[in-house]
Amino acid sequence: MGWLATWYHRWASPPWFYQMSGRWTRGLMGLALPLLCVGTLWGLAFAPADYQQGNSFRIIYIHVPAAMVAQSGYILMASAGLVGLVWRLKVADVVLRNCAPIGAAMTFLALATGSIWGKPTWGAWWVWDARITSMLVLLMLYLGVMGLGSAFRNEQAAGRASAILALVGVVNIPIIKYSVEWWYSLHQPATFRLTEKPAMPVEMWAPLLVMVLGFYAFFGAVLLARSRVDLLDRERRSRWVRSLVAEHAI
């Protein structure tokens, strides 16, 4: 188990993180782009339409992956915050701060595609469906973390404050989701719900799986790419960054 511990500790050191994340970014992006292309084509052209909703069902191939990435993005952000708070790691702070913008973008994407999907299905652009409402609250939580992070002049304080907010947020996310689901079932007779679909045949969820993997790979690649640059910025006075700049290796 020794190599796992050293591998983990290496990620905590900024120069090593910069180097490793470079390789991982290229790898993940190399994985993400083909997955997304194949998934999109498959979902748009080859997957069967839904017998009830018709072709508008194809929006699921973006809505569900975006929503999944948005939620797990917040959980990743909170765990990076926890690591940052407990071990005071600059790398964890940087990952946390760069997680929020992508997560917010994915949540916005889930909201936009959800409301577009609602129009042909229910005839209204905005529907207070349980899932879309909790997405809206999740977007607010993301904006809160981003707003708080940028409000501090001192980067370290910004990192730790955002970490605390992310942790409090992640504790509340299940409660918020439960209360919104409960609220939705209270006020809305159990009509067809956007999320609860009958078990999908293989032809339908296979492209969905491809798209979900594509979205996660894309999220990982962009997160690491952003964090690398932010880390360079945060460590611009250190020797290893100066030498990189001197060799024009950035």
Partner: protein, 72 residues
């Protein structure tokens, strides 16, 4: 659940094309507008997020080079 379903003869490469012509694909039975709007927004968001690191890197490189010149 996924593993078992995949076994019973599902062959991803033998999926047939759902639409017989390009125009019917665009129409998508009247839902084309919504579907392509959604995919369009998704494309825009993904491209914007994908390029963000490159933009940040270029700005940082300019700043670091400038401070390097400043020191010399």
């Amino acid at each position: 659940m996924i593993a078992s379903a995949a076994v019973d003869g599902f062959d991803p490469w033998s999926q047939n094309m759902q639409f017989d012509s390009f125009s019917t694909w665009l129409q998508m039975g009247g839902h084309g507008g919504y579907v392509f709007a959604a995919y369009g927004i998704a494309f825009a968001v993904l491209v914007y997020q994908g390029l963000a690191p490159l933009r940040k890197r270029r700005a940082l490189r300019r700043r670091l080079m400038a401070s390097l010149e400043g020191e010399r």
